[in-house]
Amino acid sequence: MSSNKKYWKSVEELKGSSSIVETHSQKEFVEEIPTDEFLGNKETLESSTTSRRDFLKYVGFSTAAASLAACEGPVMKSIPYVVQPERIVPGVANYYATTMADGFDFAGVLVRTREGRPVKIEHNTMGNTGANARVHASVLSLYDNKRLQRPLANGEVVSWEQLDREVKEKLNSVNGQIVLLTQTFASPSTTKIINEFSQKYGNVRHVVYDTVSEDAALDAFQSRYGRRALPNYDFSKAEMIVSIGADFLGDWAGGGYDAAYAKGRIPQEGKMSRHIQFESNFSLTGANADKRVPLTLSQQRAALAALHGYVTGGSSTSDLPAHIDDALVKAARQLRKAGRGAVVVSGIPDVDAQSLVLSMNESLGSGVMDTANPRMMRQGNAAQVKQLVADMKAGSVGAILVAGVNPAYSLPFADEFIEGLNNIDLKVSFSMKKDETALLSDYVAATPHYLESWGDVQFTTNSFGLMQPTIRPLFDTSQFQDTLLRWSDNNTSYVDYLKQTWEGSIGNGSWTDALHDGVFEGTAPAGTSPVSATEGAAPQVGNDNTAVRNLSAAKGEGLELELYTSVAMGSGNQANNPWLQEMPDPITRASWDNYLKISRADADALGLENEHVANGALNGSYVNIKVGDTVLEKVPVFIQPGQARGVVSLALGYGKKEGIQREMQVGVNAYPLYKDFNPHQKVTIEKAGGVHKFACLQLHTTLMGREDIVKETTLEIFNSQDSHVWNSMPQVSLNHIETPVTSPDVDLWDGFDRSVGHHFKMSIDLNACTGCGACVIACHAENNVPVVGKEEVRKYRDMHWLRIDRYYSSEDTFQEDIDKKDNMSGLGDALSQFGELEMASDNPQVVFQPMLCQHCNHAPCETVCPVAATMHGRQGQNQMIYNRCVGTRYCANNCPYKVRRFNWFLYNKNDEFDYNMNNDLGRMVLNPDVTVRSRGVMEKCSFCIQRTQKTILDAKREGRAIADGEFQTACSSACDKGAIIFGDVNDETSQIAALSEDDRMYHALEYVGTKPNVMYQTKVRNTSEA
C-alpha cells in the first residue's frame, strides 16, 4: 500500500502556488549561472567559426604533435672561444681581488668568476673591511636588468663621441659655476682627476654628498683633529663598550666593525667584552648587547651628557629616569675600570655629542679609538649641499654634473633641488640607472658597475684598496673618471692614469702585487688632496662644558622619529636587487618592506594594530606621518618589542620609483622626512585606513624558556660552574635510569662508522653571530636559491636554505623565562603563564640562531622519503637528490628544524616570478656547479657539497692531504666574524675537532636524538655590573 504522506522541504511547498517553489521546480540552481561571464562576449562567441568539434580537433592535434616532437631530444650547441684567453679554462673559477665603493658600502672583496663572469663575492681576508649582506649581493646588481646600457642625450641614445663633443662645447661656454655633485669616492686618483678638471675649466665646485649623512661626526672630528674624517675603532681590543644610539654593527660610520667586535665577544680565558647599548630604535647592535636600555632620542642626549659627567668623575644633574641613570653610573664605573679597553660611541647626529664622545674616549685613554688613522669613507658635507641647492635656485650654477648619487630621490629637499635644476643650462648625470635624477638631466653618462671598473679607494688614511674589472663591460658605458679625463682633454685612460698616480707610492709592493691582494698599506700619493673648497672652514664647536650644557637641555616632547638604514637596504643604492629585498630584517624578520616601528604601548595608545591572520601571516595598520609640514601617507606600522616608548623609527632607502622594477617598488620613501640631514625628528602620526600585509619570515617569536633550542648562560656562571650546569645533556629514562640521550643504548638506530675519510661538521658560535645576514646572501649566490616574491614569503614559502632565527625573551632576560617556566605549578598557572610567555617583553633579550639543515646523522627526513631521494653520505652530509624527489614533502613535515624548502612553483624562466632568474642578464649570476631546481622538488642546505668536493678534487689532483681551513661552505667563508666554522672533524688537529669538544658545544633539540652535524656554541652574556 502506498503511503499518502507528503514530504516537504520547505513550508513554502505546502502553499498552493508559491512563486519560489515554481522557480525552484523549473531551475536547478537558484541563481543565474554566469555562463556569459565565463564564455566572454556572447557576440564574439556566436560569430566565432570554431565549433566544439574543431576545438577538440585542435587539442587532439596539438597533443599528438607535442608528444611526437618531444621524442627527439633538443640539439645542443657548444661554442668554443676563437682565441681562448690564457687565464680562462672553461669550468675552472678565477678569483680577482677588487673593492666595492658605492658611496655607502666600502669593502675589499674577492670575486669568483666563471668563464669571465662574476658569480660570487667573498670578503677579502687580507683586508679588514669586512663584507656585509649588501656587498655579497652586489654581484647581482651587476646583472641588473634595469641598468642603463648606453649614454643618453635628452632621452635619446647617443654615441659617446657625440655626448663628449656636446658636453665639452657646453662646458666651455657655460654661464656660471660648474658643480660636481658626487658621492664619497674616497679615491685619491679621482680627487686628482677632479682637480685637473677644475684647472681645465676653472670655476668648478666639487660638492660631496653622502645620501645618509655623517656630518656631525665629521664636523666634530674636523674641529678637533683638523681633518675631515671619522675616527676608526678596533672593537677587538674593547673590554667595555658603551654605545649611545650608535648602530655600529650596522651602518654607523661606514660600518664594517662587526668582525672585530665579534672577536672580543667570544669568551677566551674567561674574558669577553661587555657591551651596553642605550638606544631608541631596536637595532642589530642593541640585539647583541649584554644590556640594552631603551630610551628616547632626547634622553640619549641627556644620557650622553650624564655619562660624560660620571666618567669624568663628576656628578650629573640630569633628570633621567632612575633606571637609566643607574645604568649610566654603572657603565661609567666599568668604563673607568677598563681604561684602554673602554670605548664610548654615539650615533647622536649632533656635533656637540660627537665632540663629547671624542673627548670622553681621549680622557678614558681608550686604545680602541684610533684618531691617527681615521676613516675616509664618509666625506659628505651637508652645509655645502644645502648651499648648492640655494645657489641653484638663485641661478648662479651654470652646469651640474651629478655622479653616483640620486639627489632627486634622496635629498630631503628634493623638490627644491628639482626646481633648482630648471635654472641650470647643462645637467649631466653619471648613473647606472635611469633614476629620478637621470630623468631630469640633459645628458646621462651611463656608468659601469664597480665589477667592471678600475679604481682606488682610501679606507683609512693609510689603508687602501684597488678596484679592477672582473668582466668586460656588459654595456656601452664609461666610468666617471674616464669621462672626466676625456672632458679635461687628457687622453690617458683611467687605468693608466691610476697606475701613474700610484707609481712609487704603492706601499712596499709592486702594482701587480697590490692588484693581486686588492688591499695595501701606504700613503696617498701627491696631488690627491682636494684643492677645491670641499673641506671648508672647520666648524666651530664649543668646549665640553657647553656641549654638556646643550645636550642636557634637550627636551623631548611628543613623539620622536628616528630614521635608520636597514641591514638589507642601506641607503637604497641596490633597491633593485631581489636578493636584498627578500632578505628578512634581522630583528623584525620582515622582507620586501619598510615600516614604522613603534612600541606596543604607543601603538595601543594610538589604536594601531598588528594582527596575525589565519595562515600565520602578519597584517598591520597604516599611519600618516607628519614631520614639519611634510606628510608621508599610508606607512605600515610594525609593533616592535624593545622599541623605546615615544620613539618611532622608519628605514631609509625604500620607495624608489625610477630605474627600478615594479616588483621592487616597495615601501615608502623616508628621505623627505630626513630634514636638515637629521635622522632625529619630531613627528606626529595619525591612524590611516586600510590594512597592510607584511611578509615576515618569523613572527614575534619568543623562546618561551626552551633551552633545547638556544642555550645561554652568563659569563659568571660560565667561569665558575661546571659545564653540565649551564650546558646539560638531556636525559631519557631507560629502565628507570636517567641516561644521556646521546648514549647508544637509547638509540633507535645503529650507528655508522664515520671515523674513516672526511666527516664534515659545522660549528655556529652564538656569541660571535651578530645576525648580519651576510651568510644568507652568500648562500643565495652560491646555491642558486630562487627569489619567490612578497606574496610567497607571506605564505612562508621563502626558499632561504639558511635563515637566522631571532628569538625574543618573554621576560627581560631568557633566564627569567626559564625560571618562570620551571616554577609553574598546576594547570591554571600553566594555562595563563604559557600564554604570557608567548608575548615578547617590552625590552626583550634577543638571540640570533642561524638555522640550516642540521645534517642529522639520524635524520628523520631520510626515513620517511618514499623514493629515497634524501639519504646520508659517508661524509656526514644529508643529501638531497632533486632528480629523484617526487615532492611528497613528507621529509619537510618530519624535519624538527623546519629547514627544508619546497619549490611550490617554477621559479626560473617564469613570468610570474619576474626576478633575476627570469632574464638572461640575471641568470648570468647562477653558479654553474649547482643545479637550478624545478617545480615540485624539495631542496635544502647541502653543506655546499660542490665546494667540499672541489676541495677534495684539488687535493687529489695535487696529491696532497687537505689542510685545516680548506673546507669551507658559502656561509662559513662569508662570516668574517668567525661565527660559522666548518671542517673535517676526523682531522684531529682541526679547529672544528676542537670546537666539537668545547664545553659550550650543544646540539639544537638534542633530546630528539637526531645527532646533528651542526653544533652550536652556547651564548654567554657578560652581565657583570662593575
Binding site: P80, Y81, V83, G91, D753, G757, Q879, T931, R960
Partner: protein, 458 residues
C-alpha cells in the same frame, strides 16, 4: 641530422650481409669497365705536401745532391716555415735551386740576416715580401747539405702512384682478393641453386615414374581437428602463452622505455667535418693535447680555434694519402678552409684578418643538468683513458657517442674500477683505514663512497 643507432639489430645484419653480397657482385662487373677514378679529375689541383715526392720519382740532381738525405734535412729544418708548393711563413721552395743562384742560396741559408744587412737586393726584396720575418741562420749546414736539400726540393712534383699505374694497377690491387673470394662464392652459390633445381626436378620425375608404375605413395592422414583448435581448447596452454607473451612484451617495452633519452650512437653532422681518425689515429695526437682542460676542469673543453691554428697555420691541406674513398682530398682541404674562415686567417697573406666567426659545434655528449661530471677527476686523478668512455675515438671519422651515459653505466664502472691511490698522498690515510675495514688491498670507487647520490647530484 643523421642519427645512427649503434646497437646492431638482426634486421640490420641481414640487410648488411645482403648488401655486402650484392656489393661484391657489382664489383665483379666493375672490374671490366675501364677505370675512371674520380681522382683523375683533380689532377691539376693535386699537390704534394711536406712528405715530398715519392722516392722512386726522385733522381739525383745534376749537382750531385742526395735527395733522400735532403728530405730528412728539409723535414727537420725547413718544413716548419716552408712548403714545397704554396705560401707558408716563407716562400714555396719547389725548384728554388733552379730559380736562384746556388752561391747566393748558400750564403742566404747560412745567414740570411747578414746577407740582408749587406744590402743584397734579392735578399732585401724577399725579406720585405714576407713581412720581414727573419729566417733563422743555419751555419751548421755544409754546402753539401744544402745541395741535398735542393736536390730534394728540385725534384719534379710527384704524380700520384695510382694515376701512374693506371687502371691496370687498380685492377691488380683492387681485384686480387675479389677474384679469389667473391667469384668463388658466386660460383658456389650458383652450384647450390643448380643443385636445388636438380633435386626438385629429380623428385618430380620420380613421382611421375611412380604414378606411371602405379606405386602407392604413403599419404599422411589428415587430423580430425586443426591444431589451433585443440590449442584454443586447452585453457592451460592459452594461459601460459598469454603469460609468456605478456612477459616478453613487458621485457621489450621496458627495453624500449629505458632507451628513451639515451643517445648512444648519436652522430650529428658537425659544421666542420673534423676527423678524429686523422688527428688522434693517423697522426697520433694525444687527446689532451687539444682537450687540455680535461686535466684541470670538469669539462674537457672543445679546443678553441687558436689551438687548431698551432698546427694548421702550416698545414693548409691534407696529404694525398689522407683522402679516402668517402672523403676526397678536396673535401678535407675545404674543411680546413672552413677553419680558416672561422678563425679569420688569410692564406694569401698568411695573416689574421681579425674577422672571426665562432664555430657552433653540436654537442654530442649531453649530461642532464642535475648530473655533475668532472673530467679531471677521471682523467688526472683516476688515470682513466679517454677511450674508456668515449670509445675508439682514434678510429672515428665522424665522432659519435660511444657510451650510453646512463646512471647504471656510471655506477657499474664505479663498482668495478679500483681507485688509483698509489703515490697520492691524499689517499694515504683513508686507503689504509678502508683497506683494513674491507680487508682488501685495492679499493673500488664504490667502496670509497663513489656511488653516493650527492657525489654527482647537487
Amino acid at each position: 641530422m643523421k642519427k645512427v643507432k649503434y646497437r646492431p639489430s638482426a634486421a640490420r645484419i641481414v640487410f648488411l650481409s645482403v648488401s655486402l653480397f650484392f656489393a661484391f657482385n657489382i664489383q665483379l662487373f666493375a672490374q671490366d669497365e675501364p677505370q675512371d677514378s674520380p681522382l683523375s679529375g683533380d689532377e691539376a689541383d693535386r699537390q704534394e705536401t711536406v712528405q715530398g715526392p715519392q722516392e722512386s720519382n726522385v733522381e739525383a740532381d745534376a749537382s750531385g745532391g742526395d735527395a733522400a738525405a735532403g728530405k730528412g734535412l728539409f723535414n727537420t729544418l725547413c718544413a716548419a716555415c716552408h712548403k714545397l708548393d704554396g705560401n707558408s711563413i716563407g716562400p714555396p721552395l719547389r725548384n728554388i735551386g733552379q730559380e736562384r743562384d746556388r752561391d747566393w742560396l748558400y750564403s742566404w741559408i747560412k745567414n740570411s740576416q747578414a746577407l740582408i744587412a749587406s744590402g743584397d737586393e734579392q735578399a732585401v726584396a724577399i725579406y720585405n715580401e714576407y713581412n720581414q720575418v727573419a729566417m733563422p741562420p743555419f751555419p751548421q749546414l755544409t754546402n753539401e747539405d744544402i745541395d741535398n736539400i735542393l736536390a730534394y726540393t728540385d725534384a719534379p712534383k710527384a704524380v700520384p702512384q695510382e694515376q701512374q699505374a693506371g687502371g691496370e694497377a687498380a685492377t691488380a690491387t683492387g681485384g686480387d682478393s675479389g677474384i679469389s673470394t667473391d667469384i668463388l662464392l658466386g660460383i658456389l652459390a650458383f652450384v647450390l641453386v643448380m643443385l636445388l633445381v636438380i633435386l626438385y626436378l629429380v623428385n618430380k620425375t620420380l613421382r611421375r615414374f611412380a604414378a606411371v608404375s602405379g606405386v602407392e605413395l604413403p599419404v599422411k592422414e589428415k587430423r580430425a581437428k586443426p591444431i589451433w583448435k585443440s590449442f584454443v581448447e586447452n585453457q592451460f596452454l592459452v594461459l601460459m602463452t598469454a603469460v609468456i607473451l605478456m612477459l616478453v612484451g613487458s621485457y621489450f617495452a621496458y627495453g624500449y622505455l629505458m632507451q628513451v633519452g639515451v643517445d648512444q650512437g648519436y652522430q650529428p653532422v658537425q659544421p666542420i667535418h673534423f676527423s678524429h681518425k686523422i688527428h688522434a689515429g693517423d697522426n697520433q695526437i694525444e687527446c689532451k693535447f687539444c682537450h687540455s682542460s680535461a686535466r684541470v676542469s670538469k669539462t674537457s673543453g672543445i679546443p678553441s680555434l687558436n689551438v687548431c691554428m698551432n698546427c694548421h697555420k702550416s698545414i693548409g691541406e691534407v696529404a694525398e694519402s689522407t683522402a679516402t674513398e668517402e672523403y676526397s682530398k678536396a673535401f678535407y682541404d675545404g674543411e680546413i678552409a672552413k677553419l680558416y674562415d672561422a678563425v679569420g686567417w688569410d692564406v694569401e697573406t698568411q695573416s689574421y684578418t681579425g674577422e672571426t666567426e665562432p664555430v657552433k659545434w653540436i654537442r654530442i655528449h649531453n649530461l642532464p643538468d642535475f648530473a655533475y661530471f668532472n673530467h679531471s677527476q677521471h682523467v688526472e686523478v683516476g688515470g682513466i683513458a679517454c677511450q674508456t668512455c668515449h670509445g675508439p675515438v682514434e678510429e672515428m671519422e665522424v665522432m659519435y657517442q660511444h657510451a650510453p651515459l646512463t646512471m647504471g653505466w656510471c655506477v657499474n664502472c664505479h663498482r668495478e674500477t679500483n681507485v688509483r691511490t698509489a703515490g697520492n698522498e691524499y689517499y694515504e690515510k683513508v686507503h689504509e683505514e678502508l683497506s683494513k675495514k674491507y680487508g682488501v688491498e685495492e679499493l673500488t670507487v664504490a667502496q670509497m663512497g663513489g656511488i653516493e647520490c650527492a657525489k654527482c647530484h647537487y
